[in-house]
């Protein structure tokens, strides 16, 4: 993952009204078929997560003792009631995947919100105050970025103790410097503009200047970064689950399901294949959306 901070320069050409801006955004965005597909796929996933208990054919924790490692329905020996087969202790994989979508999406969402709030605040403070405060904050961010994200997250989880909540905190802490850098760069670019000076002269306080005057004008790159971080957060949370440091069994979190399935890979391909596929599809959808957002929010960055 990379910051987009260094790429953003020059004045945004903002249409007059927010509605006009939104329409312009949608015109750009809807041109990108992949992005629209990503948006729909993600919306569908969110719906699945919200209504998971209603959609899931079985209780995700129920063990069907007569159907251990039953293959998917279309394979010889498969049973129609277990569409994607069952795992080693007879739990329905489809139901676990459906309920598991809640954990992955929720984890991704919480991580992004945490990282966004933390990073934007530190970035605003650093960019706005400058000087020593800025140097100190950015040095701390450099230190965090010196560690590979997964390594630092792993160690943090080792300190905090394994579990989904701690995994989310760890991943959020590791992702937030990207937001801080981005916000700082945007704030420094905006700080000298006339509208900020005008607001200051009109008597706006520091808090108001930071959050009300400047922040809304730095949103574009932040939204893009948030989308990319969303997919990263899902991948990292799943990786931690896979390594036994995230959600703990019997939670049907996708990464944790993969960890449980590892010993059966050569006997039952389906217990391994489907949870990973779920992660992959979710991450692809979010990345498509992110690419589209980047192109639409900053036409200068258009990659294609």
């Amino acid at each position: 993952m990379s910051d987009t901070s260094s790429l953003r320069e020059g004045a945004p050409t903002a249409p007059a009204s927010p509605r006009g801006r939104l329409r312009e955004f949608w015109t750009y965005f809807s041109e990108n078929r992949g992005a629209v597909f990503g948006l729909w796929a993600l919306a569908a996933l969110v719906l699945v997560a919200v209504f998971a208990p209603l959609i899931a054919p079985h209780d995700p924790g129920h063990q069907f003792r007569d159907a251990l490692l039953a293959p998917p329905a279309w394979v010889d020996g498969g049973r129609a009631e277990f569409l994607l087969g069952t795992d080693a202790i007879g739990r329905d994989i489809l139901s676990r995947l459906i309920v598991g979508s809640r954990f992955s999406l929720f984890a991704g969402f919480v991580v992004v919100v945490l990282a966004l709030v933390l990073g934007v605040t530190t970035g605003l403070v650093a960019g706005f105050f400058g000087g020593r405060v800025d140097t100190l904050i950015m040095r701390v961010m450099d230190i965090i970025l010196a560690f590979p994200s997964l390594v630092l997250a792993l160690v943090l989880v080792a300190i905090l103790g394994p579990g989904l909540t701690n995994a989310m905190i760890a991943v959020a802490l590791v992702l937030q410097p990207h937001f801080a850098r981005l916000t700082r760069a945007a704030v420094i670019a905006e700080k000298g503009r006339d509208y900020v000076t005008a607001a200051r002269l009109a008597g706006a306080g520091r808090g108001r200047l930071m959050f009300v005057t400047i922040l809304p004008n730095c949103l574009g790159p932040l939204i893009v970064q948030a989308t990319l971080s969303f997919s990263n957060a899902i991948l990292d949370a799943a990786a931690l689950g896979f390594l036994g440091m995230g959600a703990q069994p019997p939670t049907p979190e996708w990464g944790t399901m993969l960890a449980e399935a590892r010993e059966f890979i050569l006997r039952a391909w389906w217990v391994v294949t489907f949870p990973g596929l779920a992660i992959l599809v979710t991450v692809i959808a979010i990345n498509l959306l992110g690419d589209g957002l980047r192109d639409a929010l900053d036409p200068k960055l258009k990659r294609s």
């Binding site: 590979p148 390594l243 590892r262 692809i284």
Partner: protein, 334 residues
């Protein structure tokens, strides 16, 4: 140039300090004291506890412990592993070549496929190749590599039985490590089949570890190429009547490579993170698997040392990339 190098080194000093503080602080911020944590659920007698506290120096003031720690680091002393009683640095260094070998092969694969694919996609923009390559890059970029590794094992080790599942070389072969790189050592050993065995063990982990960097490099190369192909000097070169191959190869590619080199440098941190997952899946005896094992064994001196070394490696590589960048592009130096 020298000033540039020293300038870069100087800005790293605070980061270096911060890294040691984090590595040092890591064991101390754990709830409870380190000895109790390492003892885990088994518990420990009060005398043994006090004895160990004194032995590891945990009973002294924090700042004293920190200065001792840094003094130790300067002498290459990262402490002793609690499990094996070996110096942490020795363990790290004995396993590091395995990770480097895997990482180098992966980055090589990523560059060898990613750069040409990106160039071709940019030159044939909008073609089926462009769409296929960028679609594949999107999938690669989004890949949970721990799952990808398991899939490859199912296919190539399970169904086709082309490659082994884990390790660096078949147990049939044994020789003293010379360089630590299995590919070179197996050749040096002169044993028949050893090299082939090493290669077959290396193939799947390399593919898995290369997947994300490959996708990132292909995307970055394509966008850098597209940008450069639209520049005036490329148009001039075309207008002069130079062949398309010459324009792309000589004029465009060289300038497009500058951001790509940076991207490749940035992959090193990701590569080390990826190595943890890849090595775990393939039981590859490198520092990534060692770090995970150490965390599970509550071998905190090893985790601490590993954390520090990993951060240092990432920092060193980024420094080298930075310096190279300054060398390629004189504007950066000022």
């Amino acid at each position: 140039m020298l000033r540039f190098i020293f300038g870069r080194l100087w800005t790293l000093a605070p980061t270096l300090f911060g890294i040691t503080v984090i590595a040092f602080g890591f064991v101390r911020v754990l709830p409870g004291d380190p000895i109790l944590l390492m003892a885990g659920e088994r518990g420990i007698s009060a005398e043994r506890h006090a004895e160990l506290m004194a032995q590891f120096g945990y009973d002294r003031p924090l700042w004293e412990q920190y200065t001792d720690y840094v003094a130790g680091l300067l002498h290459g002393d990262l402490g002793l592993s609690i499990v094996t009683r070996q110096p942490v640095l020795d363990e790290f260094l004995s396993l590091f070549p395995a990770t480097v070998e895997l990482g180098l092969c992966a980055i090589l694969l990523a560059v060898l496929i990613g750069v040409p694919a990106g160039v071709l996609a940019a030159v044939k923009r909008g073609s089926w190749f462009d769409h296929t390559a960028m679609g594949a890059a999107l999938v690669g970029y989004s890949m949970p590599i721990f799952w990808w590794g398991l899939l490859l094992i199912i296919l190539f080790a399970g169904v086709l039985e082309w490659t082994p599942v884990s390790g660096r070389i078949s147990l049939l072969y044994y020789f003293e490590p010379v360089t630590g790189f299995m590919l070179i050592d197996s050749l040096l050993s002169g044993e028949e089949g050893a090299f082939a065995s090493a290669v077959s063990h290396l193939v799947l982990p390399t593919i898995v570890l290369a997947t994300i960097p490959l996708a990132v490099i292909a995307r970055q190369t394509r966008s850098a190429m597209l940008e450069v192909l639209g520049e005036d000097y490329v148009r001039t070169a075309r207008a002069k009547g130079l062949s398309a191959r010459r324009v792309v190869g000589l004029h465009a590619l060289r300038n497009a490579m500058i951001p790509v080199v940076t991207t490749i440098g940035l992959q090193v941190g990701l590569l080390l993170a990826g190595a943890i997952l890849t090595e775990t899946i393939f039981s590859w005896p490198g520092v990534g698997k060692w770090l995970i094992d150490s965390i599970f064994r509550r071998d905190y001196p090893s985790v601490q040392g590993g954390l520090l070394m990993v951060a240092l490696v990432v920092m060193a590589v980024n420094l080298v990339v930075d310096l190279l960048y300054g060398l390629i592009n004189p504007r950066i130096r000022h």
